[in-house]
């Protein structure tokens, strides 16, 4: 990752770790691919991403000629903590403004220049003919995977604007059958939404259609905030606003649950996406069932160069864990997810490590007003747990800014 004034490239001194594996019939050089997004809408951008090590890219969603793509700007809003640290982004972007001819050409060019990369296309349409036409055309262009957006949460262009295809079991199954029917060679993944009562019945519909995989999941519908003086929500467009699609770390726990829920109930390959920002997040996605992980917000914030740490971190992780292949991660956490009823019932109590406690008394306050009044103030501001009152809820452990509280099982 040399940049700036460097006058020469210093050769790497460590061997390149092999992270490659096969998934849905495709060879992945590593589990990290770019999600359909502005980062994959331009040929040179994708070239740059591939040259620094991304394993593949889902080109920004395309549709048939004549589909109106009427973008509104500004389209981005950030979701930050009080200190301004960004942990989510909202967008009111739509599909690619490029004509499908150009997307088709991009696929051909990329396939020729980067034969080892996974080149995927994302499509969205209304009528059966259009869905099938897109699949056939992109397949002929040499695409490796077609992802069908059944779930764009903003500016949906289906027959019922505002309603996502993947919110209806019937619509999902019907249209998934159309696209699968049209493909001869290329695997089809249906990009679903977590905005449903039961994700399992939707994915079962995908499975029945014969499609090859699901992409779980998409951005979440959100209102990014409201200016409390002008009462105009964000993003603000001449005094008006609309709902955004929320992405980034903020939605990671929701995506994890979505992937896990699918993996626990339906036997279908999963492309995980939505909120992964580190190699560790990717491991988590895979541990609950994803076979590869798509990134978007991280790249839009930090650039394609983040792939260096994703690959390096994953390589060292595999070595530390003595895993021979990336595949060994997939589904490893699933046996450990059980129903609340089946959880073990045991007696735990809070334990405060006095040696590392910094005497802020945040735990005291949290327990007094949100817990069980089980932390007592002591001289010197060292908090002490009253074991008779403590129920072991874990609130104190989670609010401690120094990480010096743990929950211990008591006999």
């Amino acid at each position: 990752m040399n940049r700036g004034v460097t006058v020469f490239e210093s050769p790497d001194i460590y061997p390149i770790k092999n992270l490659s594996y096969e998934f849905i019939g495709l060879e992945f050089e590593n589990p990290f691919i770019l999600a359909a997004s502005p980062a994959t809408d331009d040929l040179d951008m994708v070239r740059r991403a591939f040259s620094v090590g991304w394993a593949g890219a889902v080109l920004k969603t395309t549709s048939v000629e004549g589909t109106p793509v009427d973008l509104a700007y500004p389209m981005m809003t950030s979701f930050t903590d009080e200190g301004g640290k960004l942990f989510g982004m909202g967008n009111i972007d739509l599909i690619s403004v490029h004509h499908v001819d150009r997307v088709e050409q991009n696929i051909k060019t990329l396939k020729k220049e980067f034969p080892g990369k996974v080149i995927a296309a994302s499509i969205m349409a209304g009528k059966k003919d259009d869905w099938q036409y897109l699949v056939e055309r992109l397949e002929r262009a040499g695409v490796d995977l077609v992802e069908c957006s059944f779930s764009c949460p903003q500016g949906n262009i289906g027959e019922h604007p505002g309603r996502m295809l993947a919110q209806s079991v019937l619509a999902t199954e019907t249209i998934a059958r159309w696209v699968k029917e049209a493909s001869k060679r290329v695997p089809i993944s249906i990009k679903i939404t977590p905005h449903v009562t039961d994700i399992v019945e939707i994915v079962q519909a995908v499975k029945r259609s014969g499609c090859d995989a699901v992409t779980a999941s998409n951005s979440l519908q959100a209102l990014m905030g409201v200016d409390i003086r002008s009462f105009v929500p964000y993003p603000q467009l001449d005094g008006k606003s609309t709902y955004s699609g929320l992405t980034g770390s903020a939605i990671k726990p929701i995506t994890l649950r979505t992937i896990a829920e699918i993996a626990r109930h339906v036997e279908i390959p999963i492309l995980g996406t939505g909120g992964a920002s580190t190699w560790g997040d990717a491991v988590e996605f895979m541990a609950v069932g994803a076979g590869a992980v798509e990134f978007c917000t991280l790249v839009m914030h930090r650039g394609f160069r983040v792939i260096e740490d994703l690959k390096s971190g994953m390589g060292h992780y595999l070595a530390d864990m003595e895993f021979r292949s990336t595949l060994e991660i997939i589904g490893r956490a699933l046996p450990n997810i059980i129903s609340h009823d089946d959880l073990p019932r045991r007696s735990v109590r809070s334990h405060i490590d006095e040696a590392t406690c910094i005497q802020c008394e945040v735990c005291y306050l949290a327990c007094r007003d949100g817990g069980h009044g089980a932390i007592e103030r002591m001289p010197g501001r060292i908090p002490r747990v009253n074991l008779d009152r403590c129920v072991g809820c874990g609130l104190c452990e989670n609010v401690c800014p120094e990480g010096c509280i743990s929950m211990r099982v008591i006999a």
């Binding site: 210093s10 460590y14 390149i16 740490d309 390096s312 060292h316």
Partner: protein, 424 residues
């Protein structure tokens, strides 16, 4: 010497503060060109081995620099974050990463295929080691020569309270597989042999001779050359205090190291004498603070005019100075004597630390600068074909990381030269 963060959590918090700038000023300011945002991103994600590898890829003396690099004059001085609040503690994060690696085991480097050519590196200090490593990466067989063990300034001049032998050896052990080391004194004859038996030579012999104090009495017993003083102090157990009352003359890091070392060895009183003020000192604040904490007294605007005593040093006659409007070659104001300000200071040892000059005698074969350093062009080429040079021997007293930068860049110049892409 600041210790690394108290906890892993604090380290992560500090790493989280990094803005991850594009074309980062910290990387540009690092003579070894460490990808600072890159390794900090890895600390953030918990990929500590990756962070250590990133540092080591750029800087062959990763452990040494993590411990003692003066970040305040390099990376940290240009940190964008300081425009918001305070700069990132870059060196400490670097230290944290390399410490992790030294505790958890070093990553195994890949095999570097050989290109069939050989380069001799004369001088096994930071510049020579960095050059040897870079050349090995580029496929050269490297023969490394030094009159002492590999390590140079970090092994022989930097006090062990700043850098332990163990810390130094982390780097030397790692690097030693990339060169054939020969302990040998290189004279003119031997140099010509080396020159004839290699495709190119890199000279990095550093500065091995103390500049003598040009005043009467400099030959008295009790006047101790700073380099040999620091070297014997590093040897440990046998080292004894140079005297009860010690005067160190000079305003650089070497003089601070000598003063702090004398104090640590048990001298009752140590005075550092400098002819200019604190602002003009070429030292980093951490070392100055350390010396003061050790109890070193500092006499600014003072210059010695005579060392007196019968056979042995008994004291130093001094004179006060003031700064003139004229500047010297380094851009600092020239000090002028204040007439009638003479006074005597008692002392039983004087350590002049007013700078060093190259000492190796084979250097006679080369064109030199006015200050006596080896003359090189922008590509580190000397006046002799096939011979390149870098480090303190061409630039005067610098920092370790600057020498590493020289060594790396020179290796690439040698490579370009031997590949026919560049004239000598």
């Amino acid at each position: 010497m600041m210790l690394p963060f108290r906890s892993d959590r604090q380290t992560r918090v500090e790493a989280e503060r990094c803005l991850q700038c594009y074309d980062a000023p910290c990387t540009a300011a690092c003579p070894a060109q460490i990808d600072v945002p890159g390794f900090i991103a890895m600390i953030r994600s918990g990929n500590l081995t990756g962070a250590a590898e990133t540092v080591k890829t750029a800087n062959a003396l990763a452990n040494v620099c993590g411990k003692i690099c003066p970040e305040e004059i390099f990376c940290q001085s240009v940190c964008t974050r300081s425009k918001q609040d305070t700069p990132i503690a870059i060196r400490e994060l670097h230290f944290y990463a390399t410490l992790h690696e030294s505790r958890h085991g070093y990553s195994t480097p890949r095999f570097f295929s050989r290109n069939g050519r050989s380069v001799a590196v004369v001088g096994a200090g930071p510049a020579g080691l960095a050059c040897a490593f870079e050349l090995a990466k580029l496929g050269y067989q490297v023969d490394l020569f030094d009159r002492r063990l590999p390590g140079g300034v970090p092994r022989y001049s930097i006090p062990s309270f700043r850098l332990s032998e163990e810390e130094l050896n982390c780097d030397i052990t790692f690097l030693s597989r990339y060169f054939q080391f020969q302990k040998a004194v290189i004279d003119e004859v031997r140099f010509r042999e080396i020159e004839n038996s290699h495709d190119a030579v890199f000279i990095a012999v550093g500065l091995t001779m103390d500049k003598p104090l040009p005043i009467p009495g400099a030959q008295l017993q009790g006047v101790i050359p700073v380099l040999s003083f620091l070297e014997s102090a590093r040897e440990g157990a046998d080292a004894s205090a140079p005297g009860k009352r010690v005067i160190v003359v000079g305003g650089g890091n070497v003089s601070l190291d000598a003063a702090a070392t004398a104090k640590r060895l048990g001298s009752d009183e140590v005075v550092l004498m400098y002819r200019r003020g604190e602002k003009e000192m070429r030292v980093w604040s951490g070392e100055l603070k350390e010396a003061r904490q050790q109890g070193v007294q500092i006499q600014f605007f003072t210059t010695p005019i005579e060392i007196f005593g019968r056979n042995r040093v008994q004291g130093v006659k001094c004179r006060r100075t003031r700064l003139s409007d004229e500047r010297d070659a380094t851009g600092r104001p020239l000090p002028l004597d204040v007439d009638g300000s003479e006074f005597d200071l008692e002392a039983d040892a004087v350590i002049p630390a007013i700078g060093q000059v190259p000492g190796a005698n084979f250097l006679r074969l080369f064109e030199r600068t006015l200050q006596g350093y080896l003359k090189v062009n922008d590509s580190f080429a000397t006046s002799r074909g096939h011979v390149f040079a870098g480090g303190d021997v061409v630039g005067g007293e610098g920092t370790i990381v600057q020498s590493v930068g020289h060594g790396k860049k020179a290796a690439h110049c040698i490579h370009r030269y031997l590949s026919g892409e560049m004239d000598p």
